[in-house]
Amino acid sequence: MEEEEKGKAKKEEEKATAPGQNRTFGTEERSADVGARFGLLGKVSFRTARFYLIGVCVIMFALAPVITRNSYYLGTLSTIALYGVLAMSWDILSGYTGYLNFGIAFSFGVGGYAAALVGVHTALPPSMGIFLGGLASVLFGFIVGAPSLRLRGHFFILVTLLVPLATAALLQVLLVDGSIFGVNQIVTNQAYTYEASVAVFALTGVVLYVVSNSNIGLIFRAIRENEIAAEASGIHTGSYKILAFSISGFFAGMAGALYVYANGVASPTMFGILLSAPPVFMAALGGMGTIAGPILGAFLLEGSLDFFRINIISDARLLIAAVLLFVVLLFFPEGIWGAVSSWGQRRRRHKKS
């Protein structure tokens, strides 16, 4: 009798964990599949629509220079790639943990200035500078983030909003024009800029995808859903919030470093609201908490801005982009990707029953 029961239980379990079959539902899906790693990584499947989107984008970026030599288009694409990196970085922190960071420009700027220092004072290659920019951003991000992540939602918003502004003000005092000039320009070698942007984009996409789909990402989401319940489950939420902040800062810092190498100068505008705001809206437009959504948002917003730039209605392009954003948020508060994936989930549920 016992054997029978045990056998039945095992079979039920196997039904539930058959490879390839979706194991869980949730705001995202996770399949029991590739590379079972225990502990914090858990099982991460690459057979999801979100990862496909990342892959498709990388392939598109990679193929573009083959299709066109037009430097304007390539420039636009690398701008989209950079904004995509910023939007994804924003999402892994704010979309997943729910702590809205309105000052990602801080990480961007710190990474940029660090790279500027590396570029001006050392003979290290740009790739090292980009990596160091990311590290610097994590370090300074920790100093700022650790105390502010203890605060609840709205307070965190205000602090993150103010910090980059304060930094820009300080730089204006410390440096001439607040800027660092003469960084070894690689803009003449546009090919390098483009390749580097795509490489950073690909790296960010893959790493953030893995993190978001792993158990770490699950804990981030738990923090967003019900932080107290997460604490009551034995999770040290403080450490995880700092982790999210650091991961976010690392990639945003790399984007800043890349930007500085491409432009030859690090200026206080890198800390401005015009750098903090677009990634937030790109993520909201595309769908927060998905990593794929922000990429979509970056393409849509930046793409439409640049598309309109070459049209006659160029003056109204910002207005049109803003209206687009507003209308989408009004009817699809979970963003475009969010809306599509909910629709897909509902269809699948119907099919099952």
Partner: protein, 263 residues
């Protein structure tokens, strides 16, 4: 004489080693009111203790104090000899104390499986299970609470009884040694009480000591070996279920004055 002293000391030590959690003179005030007033008691390993008292007696506050949701104004709380009075919730949980809430608190938009996976990821779960994978721990908890076939559902889609089981599964998944249950039978239908009782009665065999708040006296009596009673923040009785139920002060607390003393 020395031998007797030695023996007494050894006995003390034995008792101490068996004491899992101990409260000494714990007081918590809200404004001018003492929600918990100089409460002292201890619970030994393997015990199943019930906590009763009228509404507002301070039972949930006591749970909050033990699990780090609130800090006592005075007094101390010890767990396995360690002073946990000022510890944060996640630290307390990682020492081996878990609790369920009267009003369930699941992660609503996440699946049942993931709900239970989260506590399985806590450091204590890993340690206490001897290094088992979080996935195994989660599945184990789901099996125990009979939620395997609801694994893929979002928590928002569960019935009340299922949510209560989920609450329990999440607490069990942290691999606690002490489990505080806040009205586990609350809102359960008559067909759900049986399985719930079985489940709760199986917990000590997993090495879990129980402290349970419950209003449904019938269920409580079946499930505990000792009862502690509170009223207006103070401990007013402690003993076997039969003893406590006949306690006069307790009856007064629930019903007001004794019937034969009413003018």
């Amino acid at each position: 004489m020395k031998e007797q002293q030695q023996r007494e000391e050894e006995e003390e030590e034995e008792i101490q080693k068996n004491v899992l959690v101990e409260l000494k003179d714990v007081t918590k005030r809200f404004g001018g009111l003492a929600a918990v007033n100089a409460v002292s008691f201890s619970i030994a390993r393997g015990e199943r203790v019930g906590l009763i008292g009228p509404n507002g007696a301070g039972k949930t506050t006591l749970f909050n104090l033990i699990t780090g949701f609130a800090r006592p104004d005075s007094g101390a709380i010890f767990f396995e000899g360690r002073n946990i009075t000022k510890m944060s919730t996640s630290d307390v949980v990682n020492l081996g104390i878990a609790r369920t809430f009267q009003i369930v608190r699941p992660f609503t938009r996440i699946s049942v499986y993931e709900n239970v996976l989260i506590p399985s990821l806590s450091p204590n779960a890993r340690r206490a299970s001897g290094g088992k994978a979080p996935d195994e721990i989660a599945m184990g908890a789901l099996r125990l609470t009979d939620l395997i076939d609801k694994m893929k559902f979002k928590a928002s889609e569960l019935t009340h009884g299922e949510l209560k089981r989920l609450e329990l599964a999440r607490a069990i998944a942290t691999k606690p040694r002490l489990l505080l249950l806040d009205e586990p039978f609350g809102g359960l239908g008559s067909n759900e009480i049986g399985p719930a009782t079985d489940l709760i009665q199986s917990l000590p065999s997993l090495g879990i000591t129980l402290l349970m708040i419950e209003h449904r006296m019938k269920e409580l009596m079946k499930n505990v070996g000792r009862i502690i009673a509170m009223d207006q923040g103070s401990l007013i009785a402690s003993g076997t279920p039969e003893q406590v139920v006949r306690n006069e002060r307790l009856i007064e607390a629930y019903l007001g004055k004794r019937l034969d003393r009413v003018e």
